[in-house]
């Protein structure tokens, strides 16, 4: 491991912290993540960058509980949650978004947010009529406003444009009342103006959440992130403040050589 800064530095801070240690994942003979240490704490945006196939999405899946790791542990605020499954981790406050937009097509925008809001309710709700709770509806409207969603919330999600869909994705993640957000390329495919709006949103969210952000847009990464981790071939090449990463020779050689940074 040749990381620039210790991961422990930020963990000592206040607020919820998600930590992965020695995370390993094989797909057959393919070693996708190799003994990765990574952490994110409330109050920071930790950007995860790296070339395609570096293992970023796999790492996110391991942290979120979607993929069981072949080795390593995941801790939330010091508690071992390695064996907690994906829904369980969401209930504990670790929530992920997806690279590909995937709201529930059978529902409207508001109903999608309501679905995420009602997910932690106890029981299975055989006798609970869905979508009519006034407070929930108001909260859903607030969340949509918070992410800058401007269209009619009663629009079926299949009719949304890409930018609005990405906003809905963030609103749905926030609806799970998480403390840690794992965001997989939330700005993929957005127009420049939309990227700006989304960046401003994440900047505001930073105070209340710990955000692990997989992102390709280097301008966004370097303007937004408090910390950057560079992943390549399943290994961490460097971790550090944006300025350090910019200056890092290995990172430039590996990842930034074609970029204008």
């Amino acid at each position: 491991m040749s990381s620039g800064t210790s991961n422990g530095a930020v963990e000592a801070g206040m607020g919820p912290t998600l930590t992965g240690r020695g995370l390993d994942k094989h797909f057959g003979s393919l070693h996708v993540t190799r003994s990765i240490d990574i952490g994110v704490s409330s109050g920071e945006i930790h950007a995860l960058i790296g070339p395609n196939g570096a293992g970023k999405t796999t790492l996110l899946a391991q942290l979120s509980g979607e993929l069981a790791s072949d080795g390593g542990t995941v801790h939330l605020n010091g508690d071992d949650i390695t064996d907690v499954d994906l829904p369980g981790r969401v209930q504990l406050g670790v929530c992920r978004s997806f690279q590909t937009s995937s709201p529930f097509p059978d529902f409207t925008v508001r109903e999608n947010v309501l679905l995420a809001l009602m997910a932690p309710d106890p029981g299975i709700g055989l006798f609970t009529r869905a979508g009519v709770d006034r407070r929930r509806n108001e909260f859903a409207a607030q969340l949509l406003e918070q992410v800058g969603f401007r269209a009619d919330p009663s629009t079926p999600v299949t009719e949304l444009d890409h930018g609005a869909t990405r906003q809905l994705e963030v609103a749905m993640v926030l609806a799970s009342t998480p403390s840690i957000l794992l965001l997989d390329e939330p700005m993929a495919g957005l127009a420049p103006g939309e990227v700006e709006g989304m960046s401003a949103l994440f900047s505001r969210l930073r105070d209340d959440y710990g955000i692990l952000l997989v992102e390709h847009d280097m301008d966004v990464v370097f303007s937004l992130a408090d910390r950057v981790t560079v992943l390549s071939d399943g290994e961490i090449v460097a971790t550090g403040a944006p300025a350090e990463i910019r200056a890092d020779q290995r990172v430039q050689a590996l990842y930034l050589r074609e970029s204008d940074v």
């Binding site: 499954d85 529930f104 995420a116 997910a119 932690p120 055989l126 009663s154």
Partner: protein, 337 residues
């Protein structure tokens, strides 16, 4: 609680497929037509259709339950007849035992029918827990395999006629009602059908229903917002199994003949065809499909012994032009939730 309904109003403005009251009107209309069918048939001098009408109600009930898990839950089961057969044998064995004076027997509908549904639910729980470890085409194959296991198990019950089955001396008894009267029996079945249709319509609008509908389209995403979807799907499967078993208990009463044929996998296939013809994901489509198929069968059988061929051709045509079946044609963009 519900002061305004901006959902539907803006949906109309957008002209998109959205929930509206039209599916419920169609549901009520179909149920009314089915409910009035005995006097109508009678006045047309087709009273001989009474048995077929009762079968439409009973198979429609099983098909509505199947549509619940296939159309709303995305769980394509080819094992639905397993539960119909199980309910049929639960009721049939109890009636037969009583008439023979050996073993446990019962003929009270209020005991036998809930028991049949309960046995169906229990079996649905066990088999569903196993089958739900798979998805997609594997789920279809596993439910099909379970279906055939049940078929051969019922075939081997020599005490109840093996593959020949046995004739039952009477129907269940239900208080002062004489179920041996075909019209009375029809209306008892019809009342239960109405309960089942209303029940499932409430369910798809409940939190439970939202979860299984969401999981149908994106199971992974549903888990990523914190829902353990398999529990919900298992309960949906159990509910469908219980209703199928109840339909089985009614079916054996209708025919007064206990036979393993009702649990053959082709019956599962026919129920699925009813759902598809009537309209997948509409609930009432199950009843429409049962009606269309049984009436077609009744009519076609007079003209040709190859009626199944023509029904097959018709089915292909229906699904080519109207993928959402009869209900889809009537409702257009409007859907039952």
């Amino acid at each position: 609680m519900r002061t305004v309904d901006p959902d539907t109003s803006s949906a109309r403005a957008h002209g998109v497929r959205r929930a509206s009251t039209r599916p419920l009107i169609l549901t009520a209309a179909v149920l009314a037509l089915v409910g009035l069918s005995p006097p109508i048939a009678d006045s047309l001098g087709m009273g001989y259709l009474q048995g077929s009408l009762t079968r439409v109600v009973i198979l429609g009930m099983a098909a509505v339950a199947l549509d619940f898990i296939v159309g709303y839950g995305g769980l394509i089961s080819l094992g639905h007849a397993l539960f119909v057969g199980l309910g049929s044998y639960t009721a049939g064995i109890l009636i037969y035992n009583l008439s023979q004076g050996w073993g446990p027997g019962a003929d009270q509908a209020l005991v036998v029918w809930p028991l049949a549904a309960g046995v169906g639910a229990l079996m649905g729980w066990g088999l569903g827990a196993l089958a739900l470890r798979t998805r997609g085409v594997y789920f279809i194959m596993v439910t099909l395999a379970f279906n055939q296991m049940m078929f051969f198990l019922l075939n081997s019950l020599e005490a109840y006629g093996g593959d020949d089955g046995v004739r039952l001396p009477s129907r269940n008894r239900l208080g002062p009602l004489s179920l041996d009267d075909d019209v009375v029996f029809f209306y008892v079945c019809f009342a239960l059908l109405v309960l089942v249709v209303v029940g499932f319509n409430l369910l798809i609008r409940s939190r439970f229903g939202w979860v299984i509908r969401g999981a149908r389209d994106n199971d992974r995403r549903m888990r990523a917002i914190g829902v353990r979807t398999r529990r919900y799907q298992l309960i949906a499967f159990v509910l469908a199994a219980a209703v199928a078993a109840l339909a089985g208990a009614l079916a054996v009463n209708e025919s007064q003949f206990l036979s393993p044929g009702i649990s053959h996998w082709t019956v599962s296939g026919e129920l699925l065809v009813m759902v598809l013809v009537g309209g997948l994901g509409s609930l009432i489509g199950g009843v429409i499909g049962a009606g269309v198929l049984l009436v077609l069968e009744e009519l076609a059988i007079d003209f040709t012994s190859d009626w199944q061929f023509y029904v097959g051709v018709g089915l292909i045509l229906v699904l080519l032009v109207a993928r959402r079946g009869v209900a889809g044609v009537i409702l257009g963009r409007h859907r039952n939730v």
